[in-house]
C-alpha cells in the first residue's frame, strides 16, 4: 500500500447533516476514511458519541478553531503524545451533576488508564445561551467568557496539556426542536454554543480542548432515532471527550514545525458534505488547491459546488463509502477519470507558432 494520504474530514457542527448531525454518527464514515487514507484529521463533532467513542491511531482529533487554523496553514499538528487532560467545570453545574462528571473522569483513569487532572471550577457560572441563525444553523454564546479563560489558564499553569470543558446548558425537556432532533429530523441545538466554548479556549490557550454539555437526563422516548441514541446512554457526554483529547495532536505554530509534523501543505484531500462548502477550512483548502471530495449528505444549508461555481473543482461522491474508494485511488496514484466511463478522448493540440 502506498504511503499515507493525509485527509481532512469535516462535518460542520450544528447544521443538521443526515450523517454526522447527531451523536457521533459520522464515526463509521470516519473509520472508513481513516482506513482508506491512513491518516485522517477530523473534529470532535465527527468523533464524539457521548458515552461511545472509537480510538484509532490513524485519526487526529482536532477541535474546530485549531482545524481552521491548520487548514489555513497557520498551525501544524504533532501527534504521538499522550495528553494530560485537565477538567474544566462550570460553576453553574449543580452538585449531583458535578459528581457524575467527576466519576466519569475517575472511571476513565481507572478503566482506560487515561491521565486526567487537575480539575478547576470557574469562579462564576458561564451562563450559556442557545440560539439559531436565520439559516437554521445552531449558534450560541456565553455571558462570562472571561471566567472560562481564567479557568483554562489555571489548568494549563497546573500542568494540563489538553482541556475537557463541561458547561451547564439550559435544560429542554419538551420543545419541538428537541423532539425533532431526538426523532432524527432536526438540528442539534446545543452544537453551536459548544463550538463557541471550545473555539474560545483553543484560540486563547493553543492546546487541544473539547466540550461536553452538562444536562439533566431526558425522559425515555421509545421513538428515539438510532443516530441520537448515544447521548441517552449515560449521565454525561464526557467519556468521548476525555478519550479523544487523551491522544489529540499538539497544535504547533507552522513556523516552528519539525519533520514529522503535519502541515496543510501535506494534505492530500478534503472530504466535506456537498451542501456545506462555505466554512473557513473548506475555503482555505480551495485556496491551496487541495482536492475536494463533496459527499451527498443533506443539511439545512445549500452552499453547494453549483452555487459556488465549483463544479469542475470538486469530485462528487454519493456516499462516504464512495469517498473512501476515491481516497484509495488517489493514495495509490490511480487517475480518477480512469475509473469512469465513458473515458473522454485525450486533449490533442498542434504546436504552431504564435
Amino acid at each position: 500500500m502506498a504511503a499515507v494520504f493525509p485527509t481532512l474530514m469535516i462535518v460542520p457542527t450544528g447544521i443538521g447533516c443526515e450523517i454526522g448531525g447527531y451523536a457521533g454518527d459520522a464515526l463509521p464514515a470516519a473509520r472508513v476514511l481513516a482506513a482508506a487514507s491512513g491518516c485522517l484529521v477530523t473534529h470532535p463533532n465527527v468523533m464524539n458519541g457521548a458515552a461511545l467513542y472509537w480510538s484509532d491511531e490513524r485519526i487526529l482529533y482536532v477541535e474546530g478553531w485549531g482545524l481552521d487554523r491548520f487548514a489555513a496553514g497557520e498551525l501544524a499538528l504533532r501527534g504521538g503524545r499522550r495528553q494530560r487532560v485537565g477538567l474544566l467545570l462550570d460553576a453553574g453545574i449543580e452538585p449531583s451533576l458535578r459528581d457524575r462528571h467527576l466519576q466519569v473522569a475517575d472511571a476513565c483513569r481507572a478503566t482506560l488508564g487515561l491521565e486526567i487532572g487537575p480539575v478547576v471550577t470557574t469562579d462564576v457560572p458561564l451562563e450559556v445561551t442557545l440560539r439559531q441563525g436565520e439559516s437554521g444553523v445552531s449558534w450560541g454564546s456565553l455571558e462570562r467568557p472571561d471566567a472560562l479563560l481564567r479557568a483554562g489558564e489555571k489548568l494549563r499553569e497546573r500542568g494540563a496539556s489538553a482541556i475537557a470543558v463541561v458547561a451547564r446548558f439550559p435544560d429542554d425537556s419538551g420543545s419541538e426542536a428537541l423532539q425533532a432532533y431526538r426523532h432524527g429530523s432536526g438540528v442539534d441545538g446545543l452544537a453551536g454554543a459548544e463550538a463557541v466554548i471550545s473555539h474560545l479556549l483553543v484560540r486563547h490557550l493553543q492546546i487541544p480542548c473539547a466540550h461536553a454539555p452538562a444536562l439533566a437526563p431526558l425522559p425515555l422516548d421509545p421513538q428515539l432515532d438510532p443516530r441520537a441514541a448515544a447521548e441517552e446512554l449515560a449521565h454525561t457526554f464526557l467519556p468521548c471527550v476525555l478519550v479523544g483529547l487523551s491522544r489529540a495532536p499538539d497544535l504547533i505554530q507552522s513556523a516552528s514545525a519539525q519533520p514529522g509534523d503535519l502541515l496543510a501543505s501535506g494534505l492530500g484531500a478534503l472530504v466535506v458534505p456537498e451542501g456545506a462548502l462555505g466554512g473557513e477550512a473548506v475555503l482555505a483548502c480551495l485556496e491551496r488547491n487541495v482536492p475536494v471530495i463533496a459527499v451527498t449528505n443533506p443539511s439545512v444549508l445549500q452552499v453547494s459546488s453549483h452555487s459556488m461555481g465549483l463544479e469542475g473543482r470538486v469530485v462528487a461522491a454519493a456516499t462516504y463509502a464512495e469517498a473512501a474508494g476515491l481516497l484509495l485511488a488517489m493514495r495509490e496514484g490511480v487517475a480518477l477519470p480512469s475509473l469512469q466511463r465513458p473515458l473522454l478522448p485525450l486533449d490533442c493540440f498542434s504546436s504552431t507558432r504564435d
Binding site: S135, V137, D146, L283, V303, M308, R313
Partner: protein, 64 residues
C-alpha cells in the same frame, strides 16, 4: 471580552472564484471585530454579476 453574533450580506465580484473568497470575507468581518467562528450560509447569483453571499458569524469584541 464580549461575544456577539453577526449576519453579513456580501457581494463578491465575478472575477474572483470561490478559491479567492476567504481573504475577502475575513477583511469584511474584521471591520466588525475578531471573527471567532463563521461560515457562508447561502450563496446567490448577484444581478450585477458575481455572487452575493450571506455569512453568519460569532464575533469577539475586545473592550478597553
Amino acid at each position: 471580552m464580549r461575544i456577539e453574533s453577526l449576519q453579513l450580506q456580501l457581494p463578491l465580484p465575478a472575477y474572483q472564484t470561490a478559491c479567492d473568497w476567504r481573504g475577502r470575507i475575513l477583511d469584511h468581518l474584521r471591520v466588525h471585530g475578531e471573527p471567532l467562528r463563521w461560515a457562508i450560509t447561502s450563496v446567490m447569483d448577484s444581478p450585477e454579476g458575481g455572487s452575493e453571499v450571506v455569512i453568519e458569524a460569532v464575533m469577539l469584541q475586545h473592550e478597553g
